[in-house]
Amino acid sequence: MIAIVPDPINVLQVVESVIDPAAGAIDIFIGTSRNISHGKKVLYLEYEAYLPMATEFLDRIAATASERWGTRKISIVHRTGRVGLGESSVVVAVSAAHRREAFEACRYIIDTLKEDVPIWKKEHFEDGEVWAGREGSTITPE
C-alpha cells in the first residue's frame, strides 16, 4: 500500500497490510506532530504534496528497499492537508523474515522520504506560520 491521502491514517490497517506468513518481523515508523517547534507552541500542521511525482518517488523508494533488503511487504502512507496535534503525518511499515532487514529498510525509507519526496510541511503557530525547511528557519531533524 503506497498512498498519499487527505484523511487520517488508519495505523492498524497499514500494519495489517504488511502481514505475511513468511515474515517474522515488522518494523513500523510513525511520524506525529509535536506540540512545540523552534520553542513555539504549534497549533496544527499542514502538508502539501506534488502528488504524481511524490507517489512515483514513494513507489521507487519501496522498490529499492525491497530489492536491497529482500523484505516481504512494504507500505508507505503519507497524509496531506491539515494534521492536528498527536495525529500521524506518515506511517511506514516493513515486514521481513528477520528483524535486521525490517529495521534497516524502514529507516532507509523514512530517511529517503524526508530527503527527496516532494512533500512540504507548514507549521501553524499562534503568531504565524512557517514552511519547515524554508530559508532562514531551521530545518527540523524530523
Partner: protein
C-alpha cells in the same frame, strides 16, 4: 516556446499561484527558466539557490533542455515525514 510551470509550498505562495505559463526562447535550460521566473517574481529571489527543478516528475540538472510538452515543476526544499 511556452512552458507551463507548477509551483509548490513557499514558491507557490511567493508567486501567488500554483501554476503559470512562461514564454522562453526555444531550447532554454532549466536554469534559464528559473532565472526568468525569479526576475519576473522578485519575491522568489531569496529562495532561488534552494529551488530544484523537476521535469516529467524527475529532478533534472540546471543544464537540462526543456521542451514545450514537458511537465515542469519548481521544487522548494522538501519537508515531508
Amino acid at each position: 516556446m511556452r512552458i507551463q510551470v507548477k509551483l509548490f509550498a513557499m514558491a507557490r505562495e511567493e508567486v501567488g499561484s500554483s501554476e503559470l505559463s512562461l514564454e522562453l526562447p526555444p531550447g532554454s535550460t532549466a536554469q534559464a527558466m528559473l532565472e526568468i521566473l525569479c526576475a519576473s517574481y522578485p519575491r522568489l529571489k531569496p529562495l532561488h539557490k534552494h529551488l530544484r527543478i523537476a521535469v516529467n516528475r524527475e529532478f533534472v540538472k540546471p543544464d537540462w533542455q526543456l521542451s514545450e510538452q514537458d511537465e515542469v515543476a519548481v521544487i522548494p526544499p522538501v519537508s515531508g515525514g
